[in-house]
Every structure is written in structure tokens, then in C-alpha cells.
């Protein structure tokens, strides 16, 4: 019961902050809301007993997103004309479509006959994740590291100052 109330509280707060991300006119505020959402999701991970992921979410993700905020502030100064609204022309249509999408997909998911098993989460989850990376999922792991490298090289190349 306590768990349910806790979940509802976190969920509602997180969704409100997510709403904040998409409605905030000021990009800086939006970014702060985004950090809030990440925190909320991290707490849900804890509720789900995925402590490692919660930690990763906070340390890595929010750490990375801090950069995003800096960029956002740096870039957004004066680049969006003040007279322009924050939404494009199709926003009301998009909103309607999204509500429909939400209704449809959540209905589908609720209708799905999932069969939960009531087992304990393994105590050595972190260890198992670690061995997963060098064992069963070694190929995706290596690919991910190359992917990060490529993204880094590409991002530096694209964003570097031009000295023409």
C-alpha cells in the first residue's frame, strides 16, 4: 500500500516535470525540468530494485545532461526570435494525436496477459551485469564503445570552430 502511494506520488511528480519540459518557454527551465524527470525515473528504478541503474542514471546521465543545459543556454541566447511562439503550427494536432496514441498504447499494454513471477531480485545484480558485458553481451558492449568513439569524433569535427 505504501509502495503504491509512493509510486503514484513519484509518477505524478515526474510526469508533471515532463510536462514542464515540453511546455517551458525558457529553455533553461526546460532543462532543469528534464533533470527532475531523470531523478524521478531514477527513484522508480530504486523502487524496482535496480540500484545500479539508478546510480548510473544519476551519475552518468544527469552528468551528461548538465552539458546539454550549458549548450542549451549558450545556443538559445537570441536565436529564437522572441516574437515566435514556442510551438510550431501543428502543435494542437500533434497534441491530439499524442493523447490518442497514449490511450491506444496503454490500453494495449494493460490488455496484454503478462505473467509476473514473484522472485526476489538477485543480490549480486551488479556483478551479473558486469559479467554480462564481458560474457553474453560482449559484442554489443564492444560495438557500443566504438559507437561512443565515433560519436565523439564526429561531434568534435562538426562543432569545431571554423577558421576560414
Amino acid at each position: 500500500m505504501v509502495g503504491q502511494i509512493l509510486f503514484i506520488f513519484i509518477a505524478v511528480v515526474t510526469l508533471l516535470m515532463a510536462l514542464g519540459v515540453v511546455v517551458a518557454r525558457n529553455l533553461f527551465h526546460a532543462a532543469l525540468f528534464l533533470v527532475g524527470v531523470f531523478f524521478g525515473v531514477a527513484t522508480l528504478f530504486i523502487l524496482l530494485e535496480a540500484e545500479f541503474l539508478a546510480m548510473a542514471q544519476i551519475v552518468i546521465y544527469i552528468g551528461a545532461i548538465a552539458t546539454l543545459i550549458v549548450f542549451a543556454i549558450m545556443l538559445s541566447r537570441g536565436m529564437m526570435g522572441k516574437h515566435l511562439g514556442k510551438y510550431n503550427k501543428q502543435w494542437y494536432f500533434a497534441g491530439g494525436a499524442m493523447i490518442f496514441f497514449f490511450g491506444l498504447v496503454s490500453w494495449l499494454l494493460v490488455k496484454m496477459p503478462f505473467a509476473p513471477v514473484s522472485a526476489e531480485a538477485p543480490a549480486d545484480a551488479i556483478q551479473q551485469i558486469g559479467s554480462g558485458f564481458v560474457g553474453h553481451y560482449v559484442v554489443p558492449f564492444e560495438v557500443a564503445s566504438v559507437l561512443l568513439l565515433v560519436a565523439l569524433v564526429g561531434a568534435i569535427m562538426l562543432a569545431r570552430e571554423r577558421n576560414s
Binding site: N88, Q90, A94, A97, M98, F100, F101, L104, L108
Partner: protein, 730 residues
Amino acid sequence: MSESIFNLTWLIPLPTALAFFAIILFANPKKRLSSKIAVGGVIIAWILSWAVAIMFFVNPEFTEQPFDLAVPWIPMGNIVFHMGVAVDAVTAGMLFMVGFVLTMIFIYSTGYMSFPGHLDPEKYPDAAKEGLDPRYSRFFAYISLFATGMLGLVVADNLLMLFIFWEIMGLCSYLLIGFWFDKSYPDPKQITPKAAGLKAFLTTRVGDVLFMMGLIFLFIHAGDLNFQNIFANQEFLHELSTTTVNLPFFGAVTWAGLISMLIFWGAIGKSAQFPLHVWLPDAMEGPTPVSALIHAATMVSAGVYLIVRMSPLFSAAAHGGSGVMMFVAFIGAFTALFAATIAVAQKDIKKVLAYSTISQLGYMFAALGIGAWVAAIIHLLIHAFFKSLLFMGSGSVIHGVHHGHEHAHAHGHGEGGHEEYFDPQDMFNMGGLLKRMPITGWTFIIGGASLSAFPLITAGFWSKDEILAHAWADGHMAVYWTLAAGAFLTAFYTFRQIFLTFFGSPRTEAAEHAPESVRSMTWPLVALAFFALFGGFVAVPVDFPVVGGLASDFLAKLMEMQGEFYGLHVAPARFDWTPALISMTLALSGIVVAWLVYGWKPLKAKQSDPLRRWLGPVYTVLENKYYFDELYYFIAVRPTLWLASFFYLFDRGVIDRIVNWVGAFNRWLARTLRRWIDEYIIDGAVNGVGLVTTWTGAVVRLIQTGQAQNYLLILLLSVVILLLLIPFGS
């Protein structure tokens, strides 16, 4: 010995293919060299073809076991598709004709492709000085590739290869019809070479797609497309004619019926039969050697050749209760008469021949439809000789009149000052040319006599008579009388042409000064005239009085044996006086009537066709080719137009315009229709493409907005729609 000669068969299409590449890649700037390469290539191909053909003719026992040489090509699971070459009697006959006619036309072209009159000599000073077409080399490259296509088609041992070469020819035809793409006419309604090429390509493409569907069905059933393997296999054909398939609208039809019907549409397109005949007359916009080569002797007859090959399947389909043979006969006979009536009212010397070609091909299909297999083949071969002769003769006439026109102009014989557009192809601008161009004239008369089936002494008589005799003997009276009526008209329009062109006195300055053509153009005419006269003595019925004993029927015999191999029962019709006399009478009376109208009292300059007076509105209908282009405009283009206008309105936003909708719509429609009719009435269906483009343009503007977020919205909506498609009930 003979076997080893047949092993050369696969080489036959090669020399011209090599010539094509050599010209395109290396010899393009050197015009004379290019033509020498092309002629050299075709002569080698000719020698090879005749070697193979004659070897077959002297060893008729090969009909029992035709030659086939194949290598594996496309593997499909446990079946391997082979490609190769085969020689049977039909191939041998075709090789004999194609090799020779190709060579004659190549040689003729070296003379014909001089500097064309529609070009401005100041724009092409070099070409004008040499007196050769600025794209002389390219012309020879194209016709070399075309020759490869035709020779390959004839020696192919399976339907897929035939189809491939068929498409190559289609492409060359397109390129060659549009060869003088820079030509335009003062009359905007007259079709230009560019548009004519496109029209030909798209119209034949309709047939080709159906052909390919038939081919694939046949392949799925047989696991093979080799002619000998499929068509000499009676069990398979029987099975195909007894199993059925359910089609929407048509109900249950046999596979044999469906496949042969689909393939027949390929032939209808290629051989310009009703209702896909509209492209061939416009194809006359190509240089005349092209008309002779592609649109008379070889490519258009490939459709007949295809049905000749497919005949075992057609006859199996007929046994299985399918009406496809009747359909072939009907289309053939109808086209034969229909095209002949149009030819009567044409004034362009080449258009007459174009409609005559459509009509003669109709005779061949009619023959195939009633089971007169041998007669169809022989008429196919002989027609090629005299029709290419006639076309090249007309080319020579056009050349002469054109030169005469220029001569008259240069020496001030003309009316002086600016003259209106002079059409060197209009027969009413000619007259009395026999004196000025004797070789051209006499060979043309020989060809014309052959086309008119002048009794006994011309080849055309023997081949056409055989078809009529067959129709009579087998009791196909409707076909017989239709074709007989066509024969009368054929004789009439042919001699109308001859009288208008060669007799009487010159009706223009140009005709008065027309010189005889150069030797490279005249002697191919003489060579072809030989075959137009004597070619028929390979198929004289033995029981024909007097002549039957003197001449030979070896080719007919050979084809008959070959037909037996494919399970076709094609014994020649017994000689019968009644149909023979009727057809002779009709041919002769056609000539006499033509003489009465045009020969007895030759037309004066600027005098209009007396037929116009006598036939009245009928003449106008014929002159306008039964308004077929216009009909296609109404059934194909107009609906598209309506659709386009609908979408146009939709695009503009129906709701805020609803108030003055009626008025705006009417005004807009009237204006647009007028504009479109002006632009499109000539090209008919072909230009429907333009409308589709306009319409899609509007749609594209709606969806491809350049806005990434619009795209993403469509992505989301698509996912939603896909999710809604899921059948949740199960």
C-alpha cells in the same frame, strides 16, 4: 558437316553487336568509318545467317530434331534456366529473310542518311559540307544494335531470351523514331519525331508488360521456357489446357488460355494491331530506312513470329475450350480491313505504307488464328521483302522530291520570295516521277504489284492466296470475306499511290526537278525487287494448275514438317477454283478502279482527291484514322483530367470556396479543358503522363513539405494506423 555449321548460330548476333560498341566507343567522330563498320558487321551476320539457313533448307531431316545449343544461365532452386540458340525451319526461314533485308537496308542507309533538309546548314557547317547527317555515326550504331536484337530474337531458343531481344529492339525503335528529334512542323497538330518515339515506346510497353506476365506464368508452370521442350511436349500442353484458374471478372479460364492471351497482347502491341495500332503510323517520323527496317520488315513482324512460336500453346488452349484462337483471328481480320480502309484516304506516301503494314500483319494474325500456320509464315517472309522494297522506294522518292525542291529553289524556279512549308512526302505534290526516277519507279511498281497480289507473277499473290484458300477451305467464311474485301482495298490504295506518284505529269516544281537517287540506294531496290517477284515460287501449291508443276513448294513442305514436330496439323488447303478466282478478281478490280480514278485522267496540280468528293464525310473519317487518337484522348486522358481537377479543388481548400464553387469550377474547367485539348488532342493517351505529373505534383507539395516535424507527425500517425490494423479479436 552440317552440325558444325549450326554451331556457328550463336555467332550470328555478335558482329553487329561488336559494330555497335565499336562505333559508340571509338569510331563516333569518323562518319564514313562508322558506316563501313556497320555494313561490314551486317554483311558478316548475313553470310552466317545464310550459311545456317541454307544448310537447313538442304537437310530437311533436321525438322525432326531441331538444333539446340544451350548453356545454364539463371538457376532457380532445383531448376536451371538455360539460354541458348536453336535452329528449326521457322528460324531458318527468318534468318534467310532477316539477314538479307538487314544488309540491303544498311547499304541503302549509307546513301539515304545525307544531310537532312530540316536542319539549318549554318548550324552544322561541317555536316552540311560533307552532305551527311550530323549524327550519321550514331544512326549506324543504333541500327547495328537493332540488328543484334532482331537476329538474337530469331535464334533465341527460349521465350525469356526472345523477350530480352524484343526489349532491345523496342529501345532501338524508340531511339530511331526520335532520331530527328530536332524536327518540328509549322502545324502544331502534326506529331514530332520526339513525341512519336515516346508514343511508340509507351504503347508497346502496355503489351510488353502483359507479355511478361504471361511469360512468368508459363515459366512457373513449365519450369522451363525452351521452345522445343515446352511446345513439343504434348502432355504438358494438355495439362495446361485442362487446369483452370479463377480470375476476377472473367471467372474460370484455363491456364493455357490465360497465358496465350497475355502473350498475344505482347504481339498486338509490337505488331501494331487494333487497338494498339496507333503508334505505327506516327513512327513514320523516323528516317525512312528505319521505317523499312523496323516498322515493316523486322520488328513489327516479331509479333507474328512470337505467335508462330507460341502456336502449339494456342492450339492447345483452343482444344481446351478457350476462345483465344478465335480472338487472334478476329483481331487479325478486323485489323486487316480496318487499316486498309484508312490507307485509302492518306496523302502521305509513307503513311499509306504504314497502314498497309498494319493491314498485312493483320492477314498474318488472321492466318494464325484460323490455323493456317504455314501460310502465315510464308506471308511473313515474303511481305518483308516487298514491304521493305516499297518503303525504301518511297524513301528514294522523298529524297528525290526533296532535292528537286531545293534545286527549284536555288535556281529561282519557285514562286519566288517566301514559300510556305513544302511537304516532300505528300503524294499530291508528286506525279510523273517514273520518267525522272526510272529505277525507283519500276521497282516500286513491282513491289506494289506484289503487295496487291497481282496474280501469278508476283510473290505476294502466292502467299496471300494461300491464306485466303485456307480460310475458304476450313469454312471461316467471315474471315475469308473480310480478308477478301481487304485485298480489294489493298490493290486499290497501292495503285492509287503508284498512279499519284509516278504517272501523269509533275504537279510541283519539285517533282519536275527530282533526280534519281544514288547507286547505293537504287541497287538494294533492284535486289529486293527480285525477291518480291520470284520469292513466291518457294510455296506454290503443287496442285495449282500449270504453275504448280513448274515451281517448287519446298519451303511450304519444310514448314509443314516442322509444324508436325510441334504437334500442329498444318496440311495445306486443297486447291479450289472459287476462292482463287474471287481473290484474283478482287485484286485486279482494285487495280482497275485505281486506274479509273487516278490513272485515266491524272490529277492536276492543287486538285484535291476525287475520292473526297465521292465519299464525303466517310473520307474525313478515314483521313482522321477513325479518330482513334481522339478516342484514346477521351477514354484515357479525360478521366484523368477530371480526377486532376478534383484534386486541384481539394488542394485549394473546398470549404472556404464552397460559396462560389459552381461558378469558379465551371469557368476554370472550361478554360483548362480548352487549353488541355489544344495541347493534347494529338498525342492522346501518351501525354496523360503530363497530367499525372501535375496531379502528383500537387500531392507531393502537400506531403513533402520540407518540415521535419510534419514528417514525424506522419510517422506517428502511420504507427497509430498500423496498430489499429491489428485484429484484436483473435
